[in-house]
């Protein structure tokens, strides 16, 4: 699930190395180009994590300033965009931790429930074959986004990092200061809970 990690064709790698060298030399135009190239995507990431425009913009600004301080030490072993992405994710997570928690729904109510016969109490029904194609519709994409936003925070964050931001299990574990096993369990529960939220809309014949 690494689809959202910024990747670039090799032709731009040389461009990026040149840009990095100019930034490391203190070239104002290079910083300008870097911010303009990456700010939009990084802001989108921060918005997804923080769900608040002001906090998201603050996190992006903080991340860029932190990156610029460290630019002299950045060896370019990863893409500049990937490096900036990780810095903004960490800045957003830090901001999220410092925020007062709001009451949220329990994950338990969104997980499958079983009867004494070990079958699900609400038997799963097939979903529409075209569920994926529905994403071409703005309404369906917004429905999925709203449903993700309803997940309890520790599950929402793991789902965002793993399935949307393209951060791997080990790195997610490091960012959240939990074990890789905890990341895997939370991701599975987050997907199950999201499936429960989407089920009424995608059951065959009911959407």
């Amino acid at each position: 699930m690494d689809g959202m990690v910024p990747t670039k064709p090799s032709a731009t790698v040389a461009d990026e190395a040149a840009l990095l060298a100019r930034m490391q030399a203190g070239d104002d135009d290079a910083f300008d180009a870097c911010v303009r190239a990456h700010c939009g995507q990084l802001l989108a990431t921060a918005r997804r994590i923080l769900k608040n425009e002001e906090d998201a913009q603050d996190a992006v600004q903080e991340a860029f300033l932190s990156a610029f301080k460290e630019i002299g030490q950045f060896a370019g072993r990863s893409l500049l965009g990937t490096w900036l992405h990780r810095i903004v994710v960490n800045a957003a997570l830090c901001r999220l931790r410092s925020r007062r928690r709001h009451p949220e729904r329990s994950i338990e109510e969104l997980l499958p429930h079983f009867g004494e016969d070990e079958h699900q109490i609400d038997p799963p029904a097939p979903w529409q074959e075209a569920a994926g194609a529905l994403l071409l519709q703005k309404e369906a994409r917004e429905l999925v986004q709203r449903s993700i936003a309803q997940l309890p925070e520790i599950y929402r964050i793991v789902l965002l990092l793993r399935d949307i931001e393209g951060v791997d299990t080990e790195e997610t574990a490091g960012m959240l200061e939990v074990s890789a096993g905890v990341v895997k369990t939370r991701l599975h529960r987050a997907r199950q809970a999201l499936r429960t939220l989407l089920d009424p809309y995608f059951r065959r014949g009911e959407a």
Binding site: F64, L135, K138, V144, H188, L194
Partner: protein
């Protein structure tokens, strides 16, 4: 294997993390349980919907843009070499 065990460990099955004998148990259960077939299918579609929900390519939208004020604030706050 029952439906509870299937749903609890289906991610391990889906991503090929099970030894062959446990995998065979999952497949035996799937062959007998249309509910778990439906659950597995909807779980896979949930992952697909999640990964595509925020992608720019899905709705023809242009790449995300940042407000000019934010760009300027970042550039002005940048520490400069003395």
């Amino acid at each position: 294997m029952n439906c509870r065990e299937f749903t609890e460990f289906l991610h391990e099955y889906l991503f090929g993390n099970l030894p062959p004998e446990e995998r065979a148990e999952f497949e035996k259960h799937l062959a007998e349980c249309p509910w778990c077939v439906a659950y597995l299918d909807s779980y896979k579609k949930t992952i697909l919907l999640t990964t595509d929900a925020f992608s720019d390519s899905g709705n023809g939208a242009p790449p995300a843009a940042a407000p000019e004020e934010l760009i300027q604030a970042i550039l002005h706050a940048r520490p400069r070499k003395s």
